[in-house]
């Protein structure tokens, strides 16, 4: 393996001075015992070819978009609504009481020049009314795009009026694309909106015991279903998954669960914190990506409930699942062990997926996020030292207090103390870097140039990334596993998903295609 410090220098040296200064802070060599401070969640360098998207994508595309029984209206010119139409694979299954899966529809106010000049509030109000007349949804969510903020349309007052007029829940998100520096701002705005307008509206808890919410799980390629199936086997009940294959009602009552488990820390930690403060629901970080991690997460949930039967059942399930998985791992390992991977994905998977590669004996040589914050890299203990810079200062922080009627501590102070004494840690995420080996290259908001250099210098056997990079990487003859869309496969979560992933990686690395790249007349002649 090349010296990561030298690779870093090689990547940086082409940059103009201002760019070099900025990128230097976003690229570093890992030390798991004391993760160095990384420059993250700062503005994108113009012209550098970033992977990043915008706030609208983070809000409408990621967090709220998957709720499939409410209607989503994009207020803006046609592009934003069009591009977020069925492109993220947050699958949904219609319920018997739910006549329409709204994810199959892209709805937009399709703003024209006249609305830019005279304002688009009237058209938005009319669009909401028309949508209600045609579809009769339970609720309507409205999303702002770039021009909306600039021309001063007040989407929230339009929503309030519509709510009064139609008698259904109508609420807006000020998720203009230019806010913040990436999708991340959109997550925060979405969390605030969901918390203000949905959570807490239904107070009747589900009758099942061991109720949890899975936060930050979007059911890409059926992941949430795989997790749900696993939990069900153990006797753990999911009140709501935020927000993969979730209904409006499930979100409205999710504050009645006993525990929040957080998959994607970046996109949903705000909600986890706010629910704990207002309703007393504690949260823990889990990870259902990878066999060992899935087992660990199940045990953590069982430990929280302190129920002997549950704990026994969890061990039984883990044993069963592992019995099925072990031969797959052993088989795949014969072809994948010792191979290398690199990963550059959104704000969560670049960490989680390292465990899957590790399960089959593969080494992650470099990794990074598009838009994660320092706490996702270095762990939540650095939170007090994170300064919010000028580009993200305008993202609203909700003031949340304990609800005088609905707050209910799930554990007594004694129970909490006992749990913590047993090694249990709440609201804790130790970040990606602590779990990675020393000398791994960490790159935040990787540029196209850096990806090219990385391939040239590391020659990884596989790279996990997204659609914009996939075919670039594969032109080099290196397979690229899309870790956003899963290349239209999946699920990859839980034990069953892990098996899918191992087999996929094996297929991609060992496919014959790569041997066909060079024509016979260009190969060295046989002796």
């Amino acid at each position: 393996l090349p010296d990561p410090a030298a690779v870093r220098e090689e990547m940086l040296k082409i940059y103009p001075s201002k760019t070099l200064k900025k990128r230097s802070k976003q690229m570093l060599v890992n030390d798991p015992s004391a993760p160095p401070e990384i420059g993250a969640n700062t503005r994108t360098v113009p012209g550098i070819i970033t992977q990043r998207g915008c706030t609208y994508a983070g809000c409408r595309g990621v967090v709220i978009g998957p709720i499939h029984d409410i209607l989503h209206i994009t207020h803006g010119p046609i592009g934003c609504g069009y591009y977020s139409w069925l492109t993220r694979r947050n699958l949904a299954q219609q319920r018997p009481d739910q006549p329409i899966n709204f994810l199959q529809y892209a709805m937009s106010t399709d703003m024209m020049e006249s609305e830019i000049i005279f304002g688009g509030e009237k058209k938005l109000a009319a669009a909401i009314r028309e949508a209600y007349e045609i579809f009769k949804p339970k609720a309507i969510a409205v999303y702002a795009t770039c021009p909306v903020g600039l021309i001063g349309d007040d989407i929230h007052s339009v929503c309030r009026e519509a709510k009064k007029e139609l008698g259904i829940n109508v609420f807006g998100f000020s998720c203009e694309g230019y806010k913040g520096v990436s999708q991340s701002a959109g997550h925060h705005i979405a969390n605030n909106g969901v918390f203000k307008h949905m959570v807490g509206l239904l107070d009747e808890p589900d009758p099942e015991p061991f109720r949890i919410n899975v936060l930050g799980e979007y059911n890409i390629g059926g992941d949430a279903w795989a997790i749900d199936t696993l939990l069900k086997k153990c006797g753990i009940h999911v009140t709501a998954t935020l927000s993969g294959d979730v209904t409006y009602d499930q979100i409205c009552k999710c504050h009645t669960a006993d525990l929040n488990v957080v998959m994607c820390h970046r996109s949903i930690n705000y909600m986890a914190e706010m629910m704990e403060t207002k309703y007393g629901v504690p949260w823990i970080k889990v990870n259902f990506i990878g066999a060992e991690q899935s087992a660990k997460s199940l045990r953590k949930i069982a430990a929280y409930f302190q129920d002997k039967q549950l704990t026994d059942r969890v061990e039984e399930v883990i044993a069963q699942e592992m019995a099925e998985l072990r031969p797959v791992i052993a088989d795949v390992k014969t072809r994948c062990e010792g191979k290398t991977a690199a990963m550059f994905v959104g704000g969560s998977r670049a960490h989680h997926y390292q465990h899957l590669f590790k399960d089959i004996g593969m080494l992650t040589v470099a990794a990074g996020y598009e838009f994660a914050h320092r706490d996702d890299y270095e762990g939540r203990d650095v939170l007090p030292s994170i300064k919010i810079d000028a580009d993200s200062r305008n993202i609203e922080e909700l003031e949340v207090e304990a609800d005088p009627e609905k707050f209910q501590a799930r554990k007594t102070p004694e129970q909490l103390a006992a749990l913590e004494a047993g090694g249990f840690s709440f609201k804790d995420y130790e970040g990606m870097m602590r779990e990675m080996r020393k000398e791994t290259l960490i790159i935040d908001d990787i540029s196209h140039h850096e990806i090219e250099k990385l391939i040239e210098l590391y020659k990884p056997d596989i790279i996990g990334s997204g659609i914009k990079d996939k075919f670039v990487i594969e032109k080099f003859g290196v397979p690229c596993k899309q870790l956003h869309s899963y290349d239209y496969g999946g699920p990859y979560a839980a034990f069953t998903g892990a098996a899918n992933f191992y087999k996929e990686v094996d297929r991609m690395i060992n496919t014959k295609v790569w041997q066909l790249v060079t024509p016979s007349w260009k190969k060295p002649a046989d002796p």
Binding site: T19, R43, T55, G79, T87, M107, A127, Y178
Partner: protein, 457 residues
């Protein structure tokens, strides 16, 4: 599937549902990729650029490069000059393109950033090196559609690059319109077969249908060169294919460099391809060789052989206006009945031309500009069709209504080889007819009683 779509058509004045168009900048980005050594640049917040690159990549299964000014909230209020200046410095230093083609988004258009003056200042400051070119097109997303964005960028190529030196070159300009790399390749092949030298721009063949060789090229060898585009001002004539995608640029070239423009429709089907070949022949003053006539004859042969499966079939068509106008002519040549024809784009030329084409042979046809797939689906629920031809977004309708479906136009996100098969020219018509025939006969084989399940068709 699509359970909210009912047959009852409610009047909508504000709500767009399942659009049959997208926004300008993606068209401009696609056009820019048709210049050799060009980096498309999106002057706006970075989400647009990410979406446009992703979308083009999903269609072509190829790398799609573009840079962005990455606006923050500050820039959105005070203007994006510093962002573009910094972007240009980074782009030329890190990626070294020959040319940067800047397009705008709704954000920079609402702010009113003046691109030419920002670029002039960038040049003064050294951010744009000597000998490097920056062109731009204004592409506000709240006007027109992706086709408008394409047209605006092609027009910018003429505005910035085309030159008239006073010396006429024996070449014909072909503006191919918003078509696939395979179509552009086919137009070049056909022109060469007729024996005419052409300059085609933009030209994405060799850029978005590139080979896998184990070596990645940031700027693939395809694309019209800047030199070729410059020379367009000296050529005999310009064939602008497709009113919506090519008209402005062809007209601009005529007024700027005095190159006579012929406005043709996309050469889809026999007659439209004949018009293209005839225009090449007459401007270049050559005879159409026998090989081209044979190619044409083979297409007509195919049409006559299998006519029984096409005749009288009801078809719904949706897509970009130039595509729908041209495809409708092929369908009429096959004696099919395009009963519904919509485009998401606006422009009266669409409805005017479609009525000319359809009022005689299919008087019951419903034609609509600025329409969407939701409405088309409602029409289909009221009176069904035998075939649906549109982009990938038609697949949900096709499944819901159980209608044979041919993917055509932009985008096709769920199949791969479309980037190699033209739909333009005689060869393209053979490809399209083959696809139509396959879905119709597959359906017949699926649905017919077992006793009628036949080996030979």
């Amino acid at each position: 599937m699509l359970d909210g779509t009912t047959a009852e058509v409610a009047n909508r004045s504000a709500l767009r549902i399942n659009p049959a168009k997208t926004c300008q900048p993606i068209g401009a980005m696609y056009a820019s990729l048709g210049i050799q050594g060009c980096m498309p640049h999106s002057h706006g917040s970075q989400g647009c650029c990410a979406y446009h690159r992703s979308h083009l990549t999903r269609h072509f299964k190829e790398p799609v490069m573009a840079t962005t000014s990455s606006f923050t909230e500050g820039a959105s209020v005070f203007g994006g000059m510093a962002n573009l200046n910094q972007a240009l410095k980074n782009i030329f230093t890190i990626y070294n393109p020959d040319i940067v083609a800047v397009h705008t988004t709704c954000l920079s258009e609402v702010i009113g950033d003046d691109i030419p003056s920002i670029v002039a200042k960038a040049r003064e400051s050294g951010a744009v090196p000597e000998g490097k070119i920056v062109i731009h097109a204004n592409t506000p997303s709240f006007v027109g559609s992706h086709v408008t964005g394409f047209a605006n960028m092609v027009s910018a190529m003429v505005n910035y690059l085309s030159e008239s030196t006073g010396e006429t070159k024996n070449q014909i300009n072909v503006l191919p319109g918003y078509v696939e790399p395979a179509d552009m390749r086919e137009l070049k092949r056909l022109a060469a077969a007729v024996g005419v030298d052409i300059v085609m721009f933009p030209d994405t063949s060799g850029v978005l249908d590139g080979p896998l060789t184990g070596e990645y090229e940031l700027f693939p060898r395809g694309g019209a060169t800047v030199e070729q585009i410059k020379s367009s001002g000296d050529n005999i004539a310009t064939l602008g294919l497709g009113h919506f995608a090519s008209h402005i640029a062809a007209a601009t070239l005529e007024s700027k460099c005095n190159v006579p423009a012929a406005f043709l429709e996309l050469p889809i089907g026999v007659t439209a391809t004949d018009r293209f070949v005839d225009a090449l022949r007459s401007y270049a003053d050559v005879e159409v060789p026998e090989a081209v006539e044979n190619e044409r004859g083979r297409l007509v042969d195919l049409m006559s052989d299998l006519h029984q499966y096409f005749h009288g079939k009801r078809v719904a068509v949706s897509g970009d206006p130039d595509h729908v106008i041209a495809l409708t002519q092929l369908l009429l040549e096959l004696e099919m009945k395009p009963v519904y024809a919509i485009t998401g784009s606006t422009g009266n030329q669409f409805e005017k031309r479609m009525h000319e084409l359809l009022d005689g042979p299919v008087p019951e046809a419903k034609i609509k500009q600025n329409a969407d797939l939701f409405e088309l689906h409602q029409w289909m629920k009221n009176e069904p069709v035998d075939l649906l031809i549109t982009n990938t977004y038609g697949k949900h309708i096709a499944r819901t209504e159980d209608v044979p479906f041919v993917r055509f136009g932009f985008p096709i996100l769920d199949r791969a080889a479309h980037r190699y098969y033209p739909t333009l020219g005689y060869a393209g018509a053979i490809n399209l007819i083959n696809q139509i025939l396959n879905v119709i006969l597959d359906r017949k084989d699926r649905d017919c009683p077992e006793a009628w399940y036949e080996l030979v068709q």
